[in-house]
Every structure is written in C-alpha cells, then in structure tokens.
C-alpha cells in the first residue's frame, strides 16, 4: 500500500514539475497569432512573409493527388544559402500554417513531415534566410478531406 502511494506521489510531482519547467518556455515561443490566423493572406502577414519573393530554389515534394487528406507527405528542400527556417502552409485550410521548422547550425535545410488537408489546395513553403523571405508552391489535389468536422 505504502509503495503504491509513493509511486503515485512521485509520478504526480514528476509530471507537475516537468510541466512547470517546460510549458511556459514552449508557449512563449509558439505564436498563437500566426498559428491561429485564418486565410492565407492574414497568415502570411502574421508571419511577416507578405512580401516573400518566389524562389525556385525551394523545392516542394508532394503528391499531385492525395487520396487521403488526413496524411499528406510533404518534403521541403531549400537551396537558399543561410536558410534559417522553413514553414509549410496549406492555403485552403482554415488555419493555413501547419508548421515552422527552425534550423540550428549544421542542419541540412530539408524537412519531411505529414500534414492534413481539408480539400484540394496549394501547398506553400516559406523560407527565411537572413532578413529575406522566399516562397514557392505546388498544387495538391485531395480526393478525401482530412480535417474532420
């Protein structure tokens, strides 16, 4: 009995302290404003990317037709020197920004992840390098939407 109570106690404190240390830090960095922006234009503005130049040095690998919109594999590669971050947006999702990847030193500017798409849409990649912002896009057709609702 004692042992069980002890384990319960440690678990609870462990979780509580863990959350206390990590949560404020994570939430400070995670930008509610940009992630909850609706519509492509507002999101690009919130990201400070409304004046992004189109660059063919950003390569987006995505299926032309995605049968299942809930899992669409996207690979973004940037050949732009000094790439600091890569963001992936889906223009027709209610909140277009899906992810931003901040690259540390020595990281190859290429990320692969899987996103949800509500319907056929452009997939846009935004790359920040120094004080410049670049973008590129590809169209993806979705046969079955993946946002639920």
């Amino acid at each position: 009995m004692k042992r069980r109570a002890f384990i319960k106690g440690t678990l609870a404190t462990g979780i509580a302290t863990g959350a206390a240390i990590i949560a404020p830090n994570a939430l400070a960095k995670w930008s509610k404003e940009t992630f909850e922006s609706k519509g492509l234009e507002d999101t690009m503005k919130a990201m400070g990317a409304e004046a992004a130049e189109v660059s063919t040095d950003i390569k987006i690998k995505a299926p032309e037709i995605a049968e299942n919109g809930s899992v669409v594999p996207i690979t973004v590669t940037s050949d732009i020197a000094g790439t600091e971050s890569i963001s992936i947006l889906v223009s027709n999702n209610s909140t277009p920004l899906t992810a931003t990847y901040h690259l540390g030193e020595g990281v190859v500017p290429a990320v692969k992840s899987r996103v949800k798409m509500g319907k056929s849409s452009d997939v846009i990649a935004v790359v920040k390098a120094g004080d410049k912002v670049y973008k590129n896009h590809v169209a993806v057709k979705v046969t079955k939407g993946g946002c639920g609702g």
């Binding site: 990590i22 901040h102 690259l103």
Partner: protein, 102 residues
C-alpha cells in the same frame, strides 16, 4: 511505453534523424459521433531535437500536422552523438527520448 520512436543513421558526414510520435493531434474541429460534442483540440505544439545537448532543430506545429506525426531531417554529425527529441503539447504534456547514433 514511450510515445516516441527515434531512429538515426549515419550518411557520410551527416546524421539522418527519423521520428514517429504517437499522438492524437486533435484539431478541435472534429465532433464525437455519439454525443455530437466537439472533441477539444489536443496537439503537439513544439518539438525540440538536440544533438549532444545542443539544439539542432525546433519545430512549431499546428493542429494540421497529421495524427501520429512523422518528422525527418539531417544534420552534420557523427556516430556516438546523443540525439534527444522532446515534444510538448497544448495541454502541457511532454515526453522525450534519447538515442546514441551508431
């Protein structure tokens, strides 16, 4: 059971990191079919990957990242590096995993 599957592979002077995280990634838009009530959003917001204690990649995620998220990238590294991945979700839940690059 850890929620994280973390694999690394040396490719020349690069280390490829591949990860699969078990997480529902609820958008907050879906409705429970029986009760017709909205299922609250529950999703990973931040993922941090460190190599030998130094941050190599941090990712900010939205609800639109697929359920059981997959992530892969490469960094300049070598065998023996210790790669650690930590995620935190919007409820403050967190988990981490560490592997040694072979």
């Amino acid at each position: 059971m850890s929620s994280i599957k973390l694999r690394t592979k040396v490719k020349g002077d690069l280390v490829e990191v591949k990860s699969l995280i078990k997480h529902p990634m609820e958008t907050g838009l879906r409705k429970d079919k029986k009760t017709k009530e909205k299922i609250p959003a529950h999703f990973i917001q931040e993922v941090i990957v460190e190599a030998n204690g130094k941050q190599v990649l941090s990712a900010d995620w939205n609800t639109s990242i697929s359920k059981n998220p997959y992530l892969s990238f490469s960094y300049k590294g070598k065998a023996g590096d210790k790669v650690k991945l930590t995620w935190t979700d919007n409820k403050g839940e967190t988990d981490s995993a560490e592997v040694e690059v072979k």
